[in-house]
Amino acid sequence: MSEQGHKQGAVRFGMVIDLDKCTGCMACSVACQAENNISFREDESNKLRSISWMEVFYLDNDQDYANYQYTYLPRPCMHCDAPHHAPCTFVCPVNATTRDEENGIVGHIYPRCIGCRYCIVACPYHARDFNWWDPAWPEPMEAMLNPEVSPRMRGVVEKCTFCHHRLLKARAKAFLEEQDLYEVTYMPACGEACPTKAISFGNLNDAESQVAKLAKDPRAFRLLSKLNTEPKVYYLSKHEWVRKQGDKHFQNSNGNKRG
């Protein structure tokens, strides 16, 4: 790794979310919670304390009644591809969060995490959540826990992993079948659940992949692209007001917005 840039493997996983197809049903967020053993509490309405890897934001066009429009915007971790470092990996004092240069996935190693929360401060997308409490499931809901993902403990940070464990599983299968490990693709839980097929996922480096093609769509944009964090999550929208807000070009006046 140098100051000029980072090593790039043949595989760079990325996601494209088509907001024109998204109906804000929240199935992605629910499927993510079930897949990743995300804990929940009796009251989840304090959104600053709520853990949600696939958080959904609310955007509107700031017009009145007849011209009013809004859209929901699902936000996983952006798995920033910026040269040298993603904002979070740059600040982590214990190397708990790192980018896998072989596939571009920004991971978080819970036992290494000392809970300093620098990464939460550094992330411009609010993609990281802190475990303020011990995770606890009401009896007998522990039976639902997915053995492929470890539940986190109090005091560590967690975030979307692009369902990295699914990649490991797909590669293990490919290895046994003696196939090329770098040809392996997979689908995270959110994209699998999406009932309108708004979420595509794949290798951005493969020019033939659907994500690589969609990322070049004229409707495509990325969140806060002016920060040069180079997110690997792309959004599609036919509405200019949505694309503009992706980069926070204008302010809202209603005071009821999040995100």
């Binding site: 088509d18 024109d20 197809k21 109906t23 804000g24 049903c25 929240m26 199935a27 967020s29 629910v30 499927a31 919670q33 079930a34 053993n37 929940f40 009796e42 009251d43 989840e44 309405s45 304090n46 709520s50 949600s52 959904v56 009145d64 009644y65 007849a66 009013y68 429009q69 809004y70 859209t71 036992p111 290494r112 011990d134 009401p138 009896e139 007998p140 809901m141 522990e142 039976a143 639902m144 826990l145 997915n146 053995p147 470890s150 539940p151 403990m153 839980a189 699998e192 659940a193 009932p195 309108t196 097929k197 708004a198 769509d217 409707r219 599609l236 209603n254 005071g255 009821n256 999040r258």
Partner: protein, 804 residues
């Protein structure tokens, strides 16, 4: 040797160096991290092979294919869409995705319970055995038959689209009572509309797979209308990028900027409840400008031109009625609040499209609509010629399941059935179709024609979900004995005297008959994914056991040993019937099934069909030509409803025979209650029998629910004129009740309205569900439909008062 300062430092440095060279510190760090990952209170999921089991979701009537991921084949960890299933093509809704949370819900009822204290006291439930529970119910049922009063038994079921409904019907007919009710649904009014227009009690179906222009009159297409899985899949296809194929245009007519309105190509905001007035205005324009399908109207429609009733009296037809002053463009403009040129443009656009269709049904099709309005939207489709073969509208196809055995019916049953059902006493107009739950409940609450000795509730939660729910609570007070079959300790189960808990959805065998809103015939079997976790029993098996122990003609009418055998018999009948096949093609071929085609049959007998169905496949048949399905008196589509005559209605005014705008203003003085309260639905809030699972509650906005308080939506201008700001606490009062809520400013709200989400304000269950927000159902106003008499609850008059 003197141990000086220098020696001490040497020793200390040596000790540090030595320790670092030894494995000790690394071992300690390693141990510490291992320990910190293994806190005993942090759960460690049991490991094991992960497998998938395919089934069909029964949390709603949508008929989506699912596959449940199991660990060690005994623990369900998540529910996914089945990618090979044609309805949802692998997608899933949030309720389905959270489905396993119902299986492991803490509020499930673990065994039969009997209330030992006062009704409604949660602490009074005492566990009893299944033998005692079924024995007691059976004794009471037998005693009522001995007393020759079987008609005093009633039941409410939440299932209208599966064989359990038929089993209940069979049981009630054999037992001798007419008092079997289903929870209200849009199907109730649509069946009435189908009867009047086409002579068939079947809901309409829409070929949305082939439409190019969809005009939705308040239908929440993406919030879960008809079959939510089908609609979401279609919505994704309608919005395919240019590279993926041509796009479909969606125009939404609604008073509130719902998710469907926000996602549509165009939102046409109208006054609350005036969608049908817009449709009539468009019909007016289409007739005036001759934009309708004239040859179709000539050949296939009765009542478009003036007509003569059976008594020889000349009557006005729909065509001249549309030209009357009350249906003028100005009238439509005034009722909807839209400028006249916009109505004209919309009518021309609709008429010009090759594959345009009008759809309707607010509240996700889960509440009855005004039947006249159902017929107005239907008439707009008729003007477009949409009932032609290859047209966009037809009647839902029937599934030729095996017939149930003929009921011999003993003397007691005949006596019981001779008694009118408890909703039909009184001097109201004869009902068009089916039973009327609201009429039943209000009669039982006020002046019951005869006492209701036993009320059984199956997979329904009227104490929470019925608008104007006070009626239900009052009715229950006068019911002798209430039986609940609920799996959950919900609001209704809490009021029961005895609970015979059903298995949870993923633990039991069920079926799905028909796909709401789809023209294809559809049948699926939901095979159990796991064995029952608790000491519960399938309600179907309980009914069969009751019939068996009662014996006689009741036992004969329900001869099956188990609910499974009953379903297998029905499937055997389906296999023996003509037509249909199991869908095994690529899911994208689902939309290519042609009207009147014959699918290639891929099973030989009932057992073979059963095997395929219980593996998660579905049975289907091609849509029928709607013109061949007409059974009306004239043999044509009737836009003048002469069936009303044969149903014993004495209709004076000509217009009462015709599709018309018949908005019923909610009760209350507009001066006292200046605003209109309207419920709305969100796909992340479950408002039916199943409560919102914690996974879904996490996704609810903090401007919909904050702590224990829920919000109502107000237009910023309206709020300002009342001096209200975002987050202010108010008392929302309607003639039916009041609730303390907070204000959320929403520019998509109609200025004269206040909107409240469905699905909040449940009581009981557990701390993750109960006590969150206010229940809009308890505030709504229930009115009788002018045609069907069914209860309609679309709004209420409301006033807001600031708190503090």
């Amino acid at each position: 040797m003197k141990f000086g300062r220098r020696a001490f430092l040497q020793f200390a440095a040596g000790a540090v160096g030595g320790t670092l060279l030894s494995p000790l510190p690394w071992k300690l760090v390693d141990d510490a991290s291992i320990w910190s990952q293994n806190w005993s209170w942090r759960p460690s999921p049991e490991r094991g092979p992960v497998t998938r089991k395919a089934s069909v979701c029964t949390l709603c009537d949508g008929g989506c294919g699912i596959q449940v991921r199991l660990v060690n084949k005994n623990r369900a960890i998540s529910v996914e869409g089945n990618p090979r299933h044609p309805v949802n093509e692998g997608g899933i809704c949030p309720l389905g995705a959270a489905g396993a949370q119902f299986l492991y819900a803490p509020y499930r009822i673990s065994q039969p319970m009997k209330q030992s204290k006062k009704r409604g006291d949660a602490t009074g439930f005492k566990p009893i055995s299944w033998d005692e529970a079924v024995g007691e119910l059976q004794k009471k049922l037998s005693n009522l038959r001995k007393a020759e009063t079987p008609h005093t038994v009633a039941a409410i079921t939440g299932h209208a689209h599966n064989s359990m409904q038929d089993l209940w019907q069979q049981f009630f007919t054999a037992y001798g009572s007419q008092n079997l009710f289903t929870m209200p649904s849009h199907r109730d009014s649509l069946q009435g509309a189908g009867l009047l227009a086409l002579g068939r009690e079947a809901p309409f179906a829409f070929d949305l797979e082939h439409a190019s222009f969809i005009l939705s009159f308040g239908a929440d297409l993406v919030e879960g209308w008809g079959s939510p899985g089908r609609m979401q899949t279609l919505f994704g296809k309608w919005n395919a990028s240019e590279a993926e194929g041509a796009a479909v245009k969606l125009v939404q007519v609604a008073s509130r900027c719902s998710m469907t309105a926000a996602k549509a190509d165009r939102w046409i905001p109208v006054r609350p409840g005036s969608e049908a007035a817009l449709a009539l205005g468009m019909a007016h324009v289409m007739v005036k400008e001759k934009l309708y399908d004239a040859s179709f109207m000539q050949d296939h429609v009765f009542g478009f031109e003036d007509w003569t009733d059976t008594r020889g009296k000349p009557r006005q037809g729909f065509k001249s009625f549309l030209m009357a002053a009350e249906n003028s463009l100005e009238a439509a403009s005034q009722q909807t609040g839209l400028e006249a040129p916009r109505i004209v443009d919309l009518a021309r656009e609709f008429a010009a499209q090759n594959h345009a269709v009008a759809v309707w049904g607010g509240s996700g099709g889960n509440l009855p609509e005004n039947t006249y309005h159902d017929l107005v939207f239907f008439a707009l489709n008729v003007l477009k010629g949409n009932l032609k073969p290859g047209g966009m509208l037809s009647l839902a196809a029937t599934v030729p399941l095996g017939e149930l055995p003929q009921i011999r019916g003993d003397e007691t049953a005949r006596k019981g059935l001779a008694q009118k059902s408890a909703d039909q006493i009184g001097d109201e107009k004869p009902s068009l179709t089916g039973r009327n739950l609201y009429a039943f409940l209000s009669l039982v609450a006020q002046a019951p024609p005869y006492p209701i000795e036993i009320l059984m509730i199956h997979e329904a939660n009227p104490a929470y979900g019925l608008a104007g729910k006070q009626t239900f609570e009052k009715a229950v007070e006068r019911v002798g004995w209430m039986v609940s079959f609920s799996s959950y300790m919900d609001e209704t189960a809490l009021l029961a005297d005895i609970i015979l808990p059903n298995h949870a959805a993923l633990e039991r065998l069920d079926d799905v008959i028909g796909l709401p809103g789809s023209p294809l015939a559809y049948y699926a079997v939901a095979a159990p994914v796991l064995p029952p976790r608790l000491n519960t029993r399938h309600t179907g098996d309980v009914l069969l056991q009751l019939a068996r122990s009662m014996g006689g003609s009741v036992g004969e009418a329900l001869p099956w040993k188990s609910h499974e055998e009953f379903l297998q018999e029905r499937v055997k009948g389906l296999a023996a019937a003509e037509g249909g096949a199991v869908f095994e093609e690529s899911p994208s071929d689902w939309g290519k099934v042609k009207v009147g085609s014959t699918p290639h049959r891929n099973y030989t007998d009932g057992a073979g069909l059963w095997k395929k169905l219980s593996a998660g496949h579905c049975w289907y048949d091609a849509p029928r030509d709607p013109l061949q399905e007409i059974r009306s008196a004239s043999g044509k589509i009737e836009l003048a409803f002469q069936t009303l005559d044969s149903k014993g209605w004495a209709v004076e005014k000509d217009e009462l025979y015709l599709p018309r705008f018949a908005l019923q203003a909610p009760s209350g003085d507009p001066k006292e209650y200046p605003l209109l309260l309207l419920p709305y639905r969100m796909s992340s809030l479950s408002y039916g029998y199943h409560p919102n699972p914690p996974f879904m509650t996490k996704t609810v906005w903090d401007f919909v629910l904050k702590g224990k308080e829920s919000f109502v939506e107000l237009h910023p201008g309206t709020a300002q004129s009342m001096g209200l700001k975002e987050g202010d606490r108010i008392i929302l009062k309607t003639p039916g009740g009041e609730a303390t809520v907070r204000v959320h400013l929403f520019p998509g709200a109609r200025p004269e309205a206040v909107y409240m989400p469905l699905g909040l304000g449940r009581k009981g269950y557990d701390a993750y569900i109960g006590g969150k927000g206010a229940n809009v159902n308890s505030l709504l106003d229930v009115q009788g439909d002018p045609l069907s008499g069914q209860g309609i609850a679309w709004s209420a008059r409301a006033q807001l008062k600031r708190l503090g």
